[in-house]
């Protein structure tokens, strides 16, 4: 039941996200009698059953945490069979496609199911995901995962190349998402799939040439409100940063010291070094060289510079 609804206790058959470290999470299906090896040692499945999600588990060499799965956590630890979409783009796609409980959405291709899980979370229990994948094994694997995650009843997985054969849907869906090498080849078919009262469409393409061709085709097919956007997550590390204040004169007489600037306790961020011995000139100098301490939000130096262009469009009552 774990992806379908939130619950408190771990049961057999649940998918649990084992949190070992920030970049070290493993999805685990809880089975009777099994053991899982982590870098902190072995963890017994049976021991986890009945525990509250989010509590810590003692391993021989440390603690790990059992997290309740969410589509966002799943995206971070799912087995990759293709390139996947991450939560920044996924959020934008779901938002721009106006998805909500009850929406019917078509997706091509399924890929590793990263977006599919987030879409299913948003449209269930009255909505539906129709997902298409031209790679047979991938589509089978996706169905297997949806079944494990108790999402099977809300999803139809079809093994088909929509580029050649189309969606074969007639006015059935509220929204269409295309993540294909040649999305422009499916736009006509996507239009046919969208309900008579209108709907939304999104394409995800890494290259601008693909966007160009898709937009041309969208205009030709009567889509309007066409927008292309790019969004990237900028993550921050929080660090305790220290900067040294330097002497701004020769040290004699009244100096412009930090102490004068920030009198007394009014600025807790400025830590003055302990003045233990003022005998020598050197010590005096060091005394004036106080350290400025602060909490800094430092953008991660190496960040993802591009994922893909997202193109959105509307079609109104046909």
């Amino acid at each position: 039941m774990s992806f379908k609804e939130t619950k408190d206790k771990i049961e057999y058959g649940d998918t649990v996200i084992l949190h070992i470290g920030y970049n070290n999470m493993i999805p685990l299906i809880i089975k009777k009698g099994e053991t899982h090896q982590t870098k902190f040692g072995a963890v017994k499945h049976d021991a986890m059953v009945g525990m509250t999600y989010g509590t810590r588990v003692q391993c021989p060499k440390g603690w790990i945490c059992t997290l309740h799965p969410t589509p966002e956590l799943w995206t971070l630890c799912l087995p990759h069979r293709t390139q996947i979409l991450y939560s920044t783009d996924i959020s934008m796609i779901i938002y721009q496609l106006d998805l909500k409980p009850g929406s019917v959405v078509a997706e091509a291709g399924t890929g590793s199911g990263s977006l599919s899980h987030a879409m299913l979370r948003t449209v269930l229990p009255t909505g539906r995901l129709l997902t298409f994948e031209f790679h047979k094994e991938r589509s089978e694997k996706a169905l297997e995962e949806f079944t494990q995650h108790q999402l099977k009843e809300f999803v139809t997985v079809t093994h088909r190349d929509v580029c050649g054969e189309g969606f074969q849907l007639n006015n059935e869906v509220d929204a269409v998402f295309l993540d294909l090498p040649k999305p422009w080849e499916c736009i006509k078919s996507a239009k046919d799939a969208i309900k008579k009262e209108g709907g939304r469409l999104c394409t995800f393409s890494p290259c601008i040439e693909q966007v160009q061709r898709s937009c041309d085709e969208l205009v030709k097919n009567g889509f309007t409100d066409i927008t292309t956007v790019e969004c990237l997550a900028r993550n921050f590390n929080i660090q305790k940063a220290k900067l040294q204040n330097i002497n701004l004169d020769d040290g004699a007489g009244d100096t412009f010291s930090i102490e004068n600037e920030n009198s007394g306790e009014s600025n807790p961020k400025v830590m003055k070094m302990e003045n233990t011995n003022l005998d020598s000139k050197q010590d005096k100098k060091r005394d004036n060289n106080s350290i400025h301490c602060f909490s800094a939000a430092v953008p991660v130096i190496g960040m993802q510079g591009h994922t893909g262009f997202l193109t959105f469009a509307s079609i109104y009552s046909q």
Binding site: E5, T6, D8, H19, T52, Y53, G54, T55, R56, C65, T66, L67, H68, T70, P71, E72, L73, S87, T88, I90, S91, M92, I94, Y95, Q96, D98, K100, P101, G102, A118, R121, T122, L124, P125, E197, G198, I208, V211, Q212, C215, D216, G222, T224, D225, T228, V229, C231, L232, A233, R234, N235, F236, I238, S295, A297, F309, T311, Y316, S317, Q318
Partner: protein
């Protein structure tokens, strides 16, 4: 909600290039949209998604076959570049008076543009791109064409694109992530602190699809609690019955005492729905909470009045002056009539029932908090988030997503440090989004000239318990 045509009383979105507005559709009401005064009577009964043109003081429906084209000829000859282009008033032979006269004579916008092109000395020497730009500008000025749409989160956010400070500078991409990371879905129990005019509440409620519990924690400040954006969504009553509020000060009592037995007896199912009143009375809260803790809450009437006013402000500012007066007169008449009909006793009885319902709803909300039934916690407000977060986290069970939005990064740095130090959050992440729009046109694809510099910051994490020592 499934109604595909506009009914009287519905909120609808008017959308054209560069302008999105929301209006309530009421008979005999005029609205201001893009400097034009429109009477909306004819829009009632029209299907959502239709296109209209405002011409000669009338709203005319544009047939779908014509809705997407709107091509104006005159661009057969184009220049190579702008080396011979001189900036002079004489380039356009039509004077402002000529154009005004044409408008008065009821000449259609498209025709005016054609005349303007004919009388432009320079149009033919402009490059193809420059001609297209000229046409676009003139169309925007002389043709008022808009779509009539059903409000959705995406469209309602567009309304604030020119005044994002009203929603704490929250940008669509940030809101989209807030909605994802909070894991809100059908049936969720979500706790929210927000001061974004009700936008975050409405967006969450939309994702809950008529099931679950949405609890708005109300601060004990003197700020008027504005939730008018919730009205824009035309939520059906059963959706709104999932909306609760709880004064944030009531949490201390929940922490200290056991919930009274009577509260437990009152199961979650026995709540009386259809009380969507957003006000609450002082006495009720006191009944609900520990008597020795006084709650500084605005009195019943005050809140009502305040909300009414703010709601009026946003929806009615576009009303034409005399129309507004008429509306007010009618309202006053209505209220006097109803007063005459109702005897004082009846009114008091009705008030008692309402009061009771409110008290019961407060109890239901308290129960969810007390029993730690929250599935997610969302904070998006103009207050310092750290104390609020620390207070609320006591009521969130482990392994639940928490999203804190702030338009500044510094307060979130503090939240981050506290969560990290106390070891009560996993997958702790502080982020912002770099978001850019593109113009995609043949031979002219590039980023848009203007972009937003900030969409605010998000702190997201999953709750957990600290490692035992």
């Amino acid at each position: 909600m499934s109604n595909s045509v506009v009914s009287e009383g519905d909120y609808v979105v008017f959308k054209r290039d560069g302008a999105t507005r929301v209006f309530q559709m009421k008979k005999n009401r005029q609205v201001f949209f893009e400097k034009a005064k429109l009477s909306v009577d004819e829009l009632i009964g029209q299907p959502f998604g239709s296109t209209f043109e405002f011409e000669r003081g009338k709203i005319i429906k544009v047939e779908s076959s014509r809705a997407t084209e709107l091509q104006i000829g005159g661009a057969e000859v184009t220049g190579a570049d702008n080396r011979n282009l001189l900036d002079a008033d004489s380039n356009q032979k039509m004077s402002l008076d000529d154009i005004m006269k044409m408008k008065e004579d009821g000449v259609r916008g498209e025709k005016i543009i054609e005349v303007l092109i004919e009388n432009s000395e320079t149009f033919k020497t402009k490059t193809q791109f420059s001609q297209a730009k000229y046409l676009k500008k003139k169309k925007q000025k002389h043709i008022l064409r808009f779509k009539l749409l059903r409000p959705t989160t995406r469209l309602v956010v567009e309304i604030f694109s020119k005044e994002p400070n009203k929603i704490c500078n929250m940008r669509p991409d940030t809101l989209s992530q807030l909605l994802s990371y909070s894991n809100v879905r059908w049936g969720s129990h979500v706790g929210v602190v927000e001061t974004c005019q009700g936008l975050v509440l409405a967006a969450l409620l939309e994702r809950m699809g008529g099931q679950g519990k949405l609890i708005h924690f109300i601060p004990n400040t003197n700020d008027t609690m504005c939730r008018q954006v919730m009205d824009y969504f035309n939520f059906p009553k059963d959706h709104l019955s999932n909306f609760y509020y709880l004064p944030i000060t009531a949490l201390s009592n929940l922490q200290e005492t056991e919930v009274k037995r009577q509260t437990q007896e009152l199961g979650l199912d026995s709540l009386i729905p259809a009380t969507t009143d957003e006000d609450f009375s002082d006495s009720n809260v006191k009944q609900e909470c520990k008597p020795n803790q006084s709650l500084e809450l605005p009195a019943d009437e005050e809140v009502l009045e305040g909300e009414h006013q703010s709601l009026k402000e946003l929806t009615d500012t576009k009303l034409v002056g005399d129309e507004k007066k008429n509306g007010a007169d009618v309202e006053m008449l209505d209220s006097t009539v109803s007063q005459a009909l109702n005897t004082k006793r009846e009114m008091e009885a009705a008030r008692d029932i309402k009061r009771q319902q409110r008290a019961e709803r407060l109890k239901v909300a308290s129960m969810i908090i007390k029993e730690k039934k929250l599935d997610s916690l969302v904070i998006a407000c103009k207050y310092n988030p750290t104390p609020i977060l620390m207070k609320l986290l006591d009521f969130v069970p482990p392994s639940r997503p928490v999203v804190v939005y702030c338009q500044f990064i510094e307060p979130l740095v503090e939240c981050y440090s506290v969560i990290k130090e106390k070891q009560i959050g996993l997958q702790l992440k502080l982020s912002e989004t770099w978001f850019r729009e593109y113009q995609v046109l043949p031979q002219q694809t590039r980023p848009s000239i203007n972009m937003s510099g900030t969409g605010g910051y998000l702190l997201t994490f999953m709750t957990t318990q600290p490692c035992p020592p």
